[in-house]
Point group: C2
Chain length 362, copies 2
């Protein structure tokens, strides 16, 4: 295994889409949302153990989730868990990790990946990532993984590549533009053109390249972290991060760096990826019974019930009759019952909960 | 208040219709199923406090509910709670109460009433019961309260009275026959004939009259309880009942005595009565919101939800969206979601629960 390969898992999200399954105190990445026996962050970690040495895997998370991370990934040493004192989106998170890892190994070649996505074809993923690492190891290139789109999904960002370069022999393509979540019409035209990929938010680059790009396009963030050169991986690191983190611009790496840089490439692939950003996408990734229900729970009895997502705590008995196309989630102190097709209405109710009911239920 | 007036509240039922709201460990009569601030047995007790002296109110219940009764009705002295060691239907229960009360006061005039019915017009009830007590005080007559039927309900038993005697001036009529739950066609013809009343299972008689009738029509039960003449209201009563109760025939007072006796009358009335025997009848007695939902629970948020019964534990937050005509009951370890119109299908599922899941959930 190449000792220069490093992995950064971003695990600071609060997963509010899957409330009440996902809670502030234990968001989506820390739960076994697929009922596979592993939480999403455990699946993510395991995907990298034959790409990087274990000591080269780092997790960036909110300081309130450090304990959860260390419990779910017991092989991580304290120095491998980076605690963010505030949520500042992905640019500061990636800058912090890149500075810290570069101070251990200036030749580090990084994969940066979210902790809460699902990837069904792990062997394809493995090969793609190794190909990406090879592409960035010695060169000043920023690589983002692009997923061949199978439908005009309006929930994803899109990457447009330079069309002349598209060929089976060369899946690594120069990026032309990034596009935020499009409307349906636009998404359909993207698919038709054949020049667009889904932006998976998985990046590959060497530490020098990303630090150069941050220095060029987010100089304020760069200089804040640059001040700490002597402090990374020392007992002073924590206090330093505590001091500077709140001062960082709140900006994503896509918007703050990738859309501006000229050396950006995408590796076009398909490894059964989903960001599990909607109940519908979660439903698609869960195993279904004969009535197309996705059921998590030990004691769920159904009758005349079809196309539902049902998530019931262990030990709780549920009798569900006459339901069609519903989401049913029961946790210790919250019950959610809503139509699968009315996600937006549900999101509004959840926002109302946050405002009116407070921390206990969120 | 007439010191010969006594009341016997029957509270041995297990209320399985309203599972999981009603549980073996705490059946329907012991819960505030209407959200009124009082349990059904408390409402029943309070209905009698201006008819009988408090010391003349007795409760017959399963020995496993004695503690619940005494907690919910703290004015009852231990001697006023009759514990049944086994379930033996209403004839043994009524025989026990009649023997015990007759040994305190041979001139006792009794009302016998279930603990889990709802009566909305309490002043009418009060007048009707006093009229009934007057009718039975000095005479060998058995009186059963008949409710003027408002619809061809197939869930109730019916009383046919002698038609020639029906008049506004005389609401107490001689009974011709009792009929068990009829089919819909029969129920419709009952209503059309005008000679039928609903059998409310509320009885009025003096102790001597009912004991005579039990002696005549259920001599085995009579002789078992008659053996204990010297033991009622003494420290020996409990052991005596423990010994004989299992030997009693399992039979209802309607089938075992009332259908056979010749001195049976019915008092035709209407005081807003329901036996709360179905979810539908419970729904009708609960207050409704603007969308015709009957909601019990402190933290229930609904959206686009109509005609539902929703019962959620205190402190639990429920978000319910897109539901129409459903029963939703959430308790600590059971969740039930089912269509209001499919009670039978639900009952089958509940039976399956009882067989497969055992005590914990029933």
């Amino acid at each position: 295994m190449n000792k220069n390969n490093y992995c950064v898992i971003m695990a600071g999200g609060i997963g509010s889409r899957f409330w009440p399954m996902s809670r502030n105190a234990k968001p989506k990445q820390f739960i076994d949302i697929l009922g596979s026996g592993q939480t999403l962050i455990q699946q993510t970690y395991n995907r990298f153990t034959d790409i990087c040495p274990e000591e080269n895997i780092f997790v960036v998370t909110s300081d309130s989730y450090v304990e959860l991370v260390s419990k779910q990934l017991p092989k991580l040493k304290p120095n491998q868990i980076l605690a963010e004192p505030q949520r500042r989106n992905t640019a500061p998170c990636i800058a912090y990790a890149a500075f810290k890892i570069a101070s251990i190994n200036p030749d580090a070649n990084l994969i940066v990946a979210p902790s809460d996505h699902v990837i069904t074809q792990e062997r394809v993923f493995h090969d793609v990532i190794l190909k990406g690492l090879k592409f960035t190891a010695e060169q000043n290139r920023l690589l983002t993984i692009g997923i061949q789109p199978s439908r005009p999904d309006t929930g994803y960002g899109y990457i447009q590549f330079m069309p002349e370069e598209n060929s089976q022999a060369n899946p690594i393509l120069k990026v032309k533009t990034f596009t935020e979540k499009p409307n349906l019409e636009m998404a359909k035209s993207f698919l038709k053109s054949g020049d667009f990929l889904w932006n998976a938010g998985i990046f590959v680059w060497n530490a020098k390249s990303i630090l150069n790009a941050i220095k060029e396009f987010q100089p304020d963030i760069y200089s804040l972290f640059d001040e700490g050169q002597q402090k990374y991986n020392t007992p002073e690191e924590d206090a330093f991060i505590q001091r500077i983190y709140a001062l960082c611009t709140n900006i994503s790496i896509d918007y703050g760096v990738m859309e501006k840089a000229k050396n950006v490439y995408t590796l076009s692939t398909d490894f059964g990826w989903s960001d599990l950003g909607t109940w519908k996408s979660l439903y698609e990734h869960l195993p279904h019974d004969a009535h197309e229900n996705a059921i998590l729970g030990d004691q769920v009895m159904i009758e005349n019930t079809n196309n539902c997502i049902i998530h019931i705590s262990k030990d709780k008995l549920a009798l569900i009759q006459g339901m069609e196309n519903f989401i049913i989630v029961d946790t210790e102190n919250v019950l959610l019952i809503c139509r699968k097709d009315d996600e937006q209405q549900v999101r509004n109710m959840v926002n109302e909960v946050k405002i009116k009911k407070g921390e206990k239920y969120t």
